[in-house]
């Protein structure tokens, strides 16, 4: 679909035209303030772009407890020894020094929507003219029977990167030859649709590289099919024959219980005992703060206006990244970065009257299957009938030439360098 300026000025774009041309919301007052909750791909990008593009006309405060951010993306490459932990970890210094973002390193504990204030962990309050909510996901610790937050060190999820990622790596490296790793895959919707399966590939790679080819990885999946399935299964057969077993729900008949003490996983079909590594990836919702602030619908995620990422619940609030319901877009770092820039434009339009264009979004997810073999899936998106819809899409093909896959390897590395520069510098 081709959007152009004619769309802004008439018909479907009429409301945008009003935003673009109408009186800015708070011109003439003191400098407007935007508070951003969460310094992940979504929040860091939004904070940077609002600060950078408003050239000092908007005060931007980024609220994020962590001083260093480890990306989930390419954490699987860390598992496979393709990247070092330091290479997937970033600081916020440049957002402050290069763009003037004010960093506030603590949790936001509540949003007082009536007063337009964010309540911080230390009890202080930050007023906002516009608020960006980008807290990512929260894990549903009660979604896997027998497993909970108190067990996440023994049976790691590593679905939020940092300490968890290191725990998973240490356990992976300690798996003995012949040991069986169990991955409990998450139900839809969840962060990074191909993520569990790229992880399995990297686990298998690590086992194989260590000569532990008698080991196995069993994936217990609540979904009957998964992202890039044909491509992953082709790769597993080619590179890791006999090492990866994927079980659909009609085969395993559901997870009955897990016992973190004994490394046991009981399904309707079989009991796995003494597993040296059980990777539990539970069901997910939007980050807690979005739930508390009642920005979510019954799916547990936040509905938004497809053209701006503005919350449909509160017009002073924008929700971006994994916490949002972004139509056809998957929950990915690429997507969060893309959505953040649309929200940043809309926020500047609101506060300084800058031009607002129809939203364009993009996503590509690259997955490393084995050294030299990356597959990809992606799309461009725009708002259509109130939803974010794909305007064109692509996916790698099975049996495609090896040199294409090799090019994807380079593209994936280039993307990571580019997108993290875009987020954090």
């Amino acid at each position: 679909m081709d959007f152009n300026r004619r769309h802004i000025l008439g018909g479907a774009g009429a409301s945008l035209g009003v935003l673009a041309l109408g009186a800015p919301a708070v011109l003439g007052q003191a400098k407007p303030r935007v508070v951003v909750i969460g310094g992940g791909p979504g929040g860091a990008t939004a904070a940077k772009y609002i600060a950078k593009d408003s050239q000092g006309k908007i005060e931007v405060v980024l609220v994020e407890p962590k001083k260093e951010f480890t990306t989930c993306f390419h954490s699987n490459l860390y598992l496979g020894d393709f990247k070092k932990f330091g290479e997937i970890t970033h600081t916020y210094d440049k957002l402050a020094s290069a763009h003037g973002v004010k960093l506030n390193h603590q949790m936001a504990s509540a949003i007082d929507r009536a007063k337009k204030q964010v309540v911080l962990a230390d009890g202080s309050r930050l007023s906002y003219d516009r608020l960006i909510v980008a807290p990512g996901i929260s894990l549903k610790y009660d979604s896997v029977p027998g497993w909970g937050k108190e067990h996440e060190k023994v049976m790691p999820h590593a679905w939020q990167a940092g300490e968890q990622t290191k725990i998973l790596k240490a356990k992976l490296d300690a798996v003995p030859d012949g040991g069986t790793i169990i991955m409990i895959a998450p139900p839809n919707p969840y962060r990074c649709p191909p993520g569990p399966y790229e992880r399995v590939s990297m686990m298998a790679h690590t086992l194989k590289a260590a000569g532990k080819t008698k080991s196995k990885i069993v994936i217990i999946d609540p979904k009957p099919k998964f992202s890039k399935q044909g491509l992953f299964q082709e790769g597993w057969e080619k590179y890791y024959p006999g090492m990866v077993e994927w079980l659909a729900p009609d085969i395993h008949e559901g997870i009955k219980s897990v016992d973190p003490k004994t490394g046991t996983v009981v399904t309707g079909f079989e009991t796995y005992k003494n597993s040296p590594l059980v990777n539990v990836i539970p069901a997910q919702t939007a980050g807690q703060i979005a739930i508390q602030a009642k920005l979510v619908d019954k799916s547990g995620f936040c509905p938004i206006d497809a053209n701006t990422m503005r919350s449909t619940v509160d017009s002073n609030i924008f929700v971006i990244g994994d916490a949002s319901i972004a139509g056809a877009m998957p929950k990915s770092g690429f997507a969060a970065n893309s959505q953040a820039k649309v929200a940043a434009m809309a926020v500047r339009g609101d506060l300084t009257g800058s031009r607002v264009f129809p939203a364009r979004y993009a996503n590509t997810c690259w997955s490393l299957i084995e050294d030299g073999d990356v597959v990809k899936v992606g799309a461009a998106y725009a708002a259509k009938d109130g939803k974010i819809a794909a305007t064109s899409t692509f996916v790698s093909k099975t049996k495609e030439p090896a040199d294409l896959r090799k090019q994807n390897v380079q593209e994936n590395l280039g993307w990571y360098a580019g997108v993290t520069a875009d987020m954090f510098s």
Binding site: N4, R355, F357, A362, S392, Q410, A417, G418, D422
Partner: protein, 130 residues
């Protein structure tokens, strides 16, 4: 030489160009082989503000500093007609690369002119391999 950025061979060229692309030290150097008589070439005056907004999609991979890593080339500081010509070859699916074809598919002539106008104004920062 990175395959992705090789010139399309033996395929339809639009009126804008025959493009030769060479990779050097991981960067991409673009040269006009011939500039064919461009009948449709009343070049659009690009809307830079639109281009700057649309560039948000590019900056997810292509660094605005002009720094380039691995398989993602720098795209800053190109002459406008060259920028448009390259994008047209993705749009026409003459040039391979699924990501670029997908992005280009949604860009109108105005969009491309805007992008080209914007990127022409961006200079690579010092130290960026060009």
């Amino acid at each position: 030489m990175n395959e992705m950025f090789e010139a399309p061979q033996g395929r339809r060229m639009n009126a804008l160009s025959a493009l030769a692309l060479q990779g050097a030290a991981g960067a991409v150097f673009l040269a006009w082989a011939t500039v064919a008589a461009a009948q449709d070439a009343k070049p659009l005056k690009g809307d830079k503000a639109l281009g700057e907004y649309l560039s948000n999609t590019c900056t997810g991979c292509h660094q605005i500093s002009g720094v380039s890593k691995a398989g993602v080339p720098p795209i800053v500081g190109w002459p406008e007609d060259q920028f448009i010509a390259v994008m047209e070859t993705y749009k026409d699916k003459v040039r391979e690369n699924k990501v670029m074809q997908t992005i280009a598919a949604g860009l109108s002539k105005e969009d491309l002119a805007g992008l080209a106008a914007y990127y022409a104004t961006i200079k690579p920062t010092k130290g960026a391999a060009q």
